[in-house]
């Protein structure tokens, strides 16, 4: 334990250095775009991982929140001429309100029910994004989103968006780190780990969970806004089922214990299809195999795995 703690600052510095230096080491603008996508998805994945970690409930509506934020920011920028920062603010707000509304309902249910309700909410939003085509421009997607304009400069390249996303990710990680150490953070932890104990201590479980869930939705909305500005278009596909599986995989690969774990997951999941591009349409199949591999590798003891394959007590 002590050794790991001493190495942790070194690890963090190393990661920060890699994160800052990578876009300069890799010249290809295509790959810089991929890195930007990785950073954007990391923001959403980190949020989901924290939600799973603290509340012991699996939320399956992250892509919907991202999409909601993306559409909100898109509408604000295209139809009302807002600049990026206020649009991102509206995106965060939209995601928070949606998460709060769903949370008010979902937290009244068991943990299975929570997953179903968030999943159903996600699918409802997908349907709405397709059907409400006056607002969302339908299945074709909402196009024409202008690039980000910050401090008088237009951030059009993958590299510049990467740094913007990285900055937001850094703020998010710091905020989460501070929250973990706060009184409210510890109480939220108790609620997640042992609701009965939390009740006995007077912690308002339901309200706290709804608030935490809503707060964690804000960065997801901002990630959506970033995504929209990055691609220039937002389509209902962003909220779809494949995205749910993607982000779930990111969280599982990276684990929920470490704050930056999901970032590794995002790297793996986002870059995998790029490397597998030569395999053509079997990308999904291989992806499934990778998921299984992850779970196998994450299993605590090697001999347990072998013995259950042989049919011993599972």
């Amino acid at each position: 334990m002590v050794g790991r703690e001493r190495l942790a600052p070194l690890w963090s510095l190393g990661l920060v250095a890699v994160a800052l230096g990578a876009p300069f080491a890799i010249e290809s603008s295509y790959w810089q775009g991929v890195m930007a996508a990785i950073a954007i998805w990391s923001i959403a994945a980190v949020s989901l991982a924290q939600a799973v970690n603290w509340m012991m409930r699996l939320s399956l509506m992250t892509p919907a929140l991202m999409g909601l934020g993306a559409y909100a920011a898109a509408i604000a920028q295209v139809e009302h001429g807002w600049s990026f920062l206020p649009a991102a603010g509206i995106a965060a707000l939209a995601a928070m309100v949606c998460a709060a509304l769903v949370g008010l309902v979902a937290f009244r249910s068991s943990h299975w029910g929570f997953s179903i309700i968030t999943f159903a909410a996600n699918l409802i939003l997908v349907n709405l994004s397709i059907s409400l085509d006056d607002i969302t421009h339908g299945p074709g997607g909402y196009a024409g989103i202008p690039p980000v304009q910050l401090f008088g400069r237009s951030l059009e390249s993958g590299r510049s968006l990467y740094f913007l996303a990285l900055a937001i990710l850094a703020i998010q990680l710091c905020a989460l780190w501070a929250w973990r150490r706060s009184v409210a953070g510890r109480s939220a932890r108790i609620v997640g780990e042992d609701p009965q104990l939390a009740q006995a201590l007077g912690i308002p479980c339901y309200s706290l969970q709804v608030c935490v869930f809503a707060a964690l939705a804000a960065p997801v909305g901002i990630a959506g806004a970033l995504y929209g500005s990055f691609r220039g278009v937002v389509s209902p596909e962003l909220l779809g089922f494949t995205r749910i599986v993607d982000i779930l995989a990111m969280v599982m690969i990276g684990g929920t214990k470490l704050l930056f774990g999901p970032i590794l997951g995002a790297i793996a999941v986002t870059s995998l299809p790029e490397w597998l591009r030569f395999l053509g349409p079997s990308r999904d199949g291989v992806f499934g195999l990778v998921l299984i591999l992850i779970v196998v590798l994450a299993a605590p003891r090697w001999r347990w795995r072998v013995s259950t394959l042989m049919g011993a007590r599972s």
């Binding site: 409210a184 108790i190 009740q199 201590l201």
Partner: protein
Amino acid sequence: MLEARQLTRRFGGLTAVDHVDFTLERGQILGLIGPNGAGKSTLVNLVTGFDRPDEGSVILDGHVLHGASPARRARLGLSRTFQRPRLIANVTVEQLLTGAAWIVGSPRWFVQSRPAAAAVERVLGQLALVSLRDAQVQELSSPSLRLVQIAMAVLTGCRYLMLDEPVAGLSAQDTERVGALVRSLAASGTGVLLIEHNVGFVRTLAERVLVVDRGRSIAHGPTADVLASRAVVDAYLGTETAPCH
């Protein structure tokens, strides 16, 4: 005053708690004893809101608690410990107690308020847990874990506290400490309901005792009288431990 009136709980054909009444005043220590399976923990669940009674009501300081959640009751001043200590992994004792000090000193979200920090210090001292303050909770021994649970309950600053077998498995020294803590709690105005099998412990601390057997209250009154009564001796204490009278 905490009052339980005609509390009843049935599980299918079994009546776990059968029209039990008791009262608990501020600053008073009430013992709750009875054989295993008598319904003591169920009774505590009913009073603290973890279970809903089929009949009867709980009245806290004149307030009828009808269907209030346990957290609401804790905020109204009624808290409890659990028979089996609860474990929260990967936190130190001090961090856990900080998280528990939600109510003390009116909750502050990010920085611990000074009254809360002082309360944590005080309780650590009272239970001799100061040396363990930086230990990881999952590495604590079972007795230490029980003490931490009691500390958490105390930190809620509740006016009425239900302790569910607080000294089971504790050494004589730790039992002493818990006893002293209970006395100081009562002295500062907290009403304590003490569930224990250790009748000696209850005898030294409790002014009044409630005895339950098979869900029914068979005695409720001053300690000495109750522990000497025929009914209680027959049901629970057995003739060897009956005091001479």
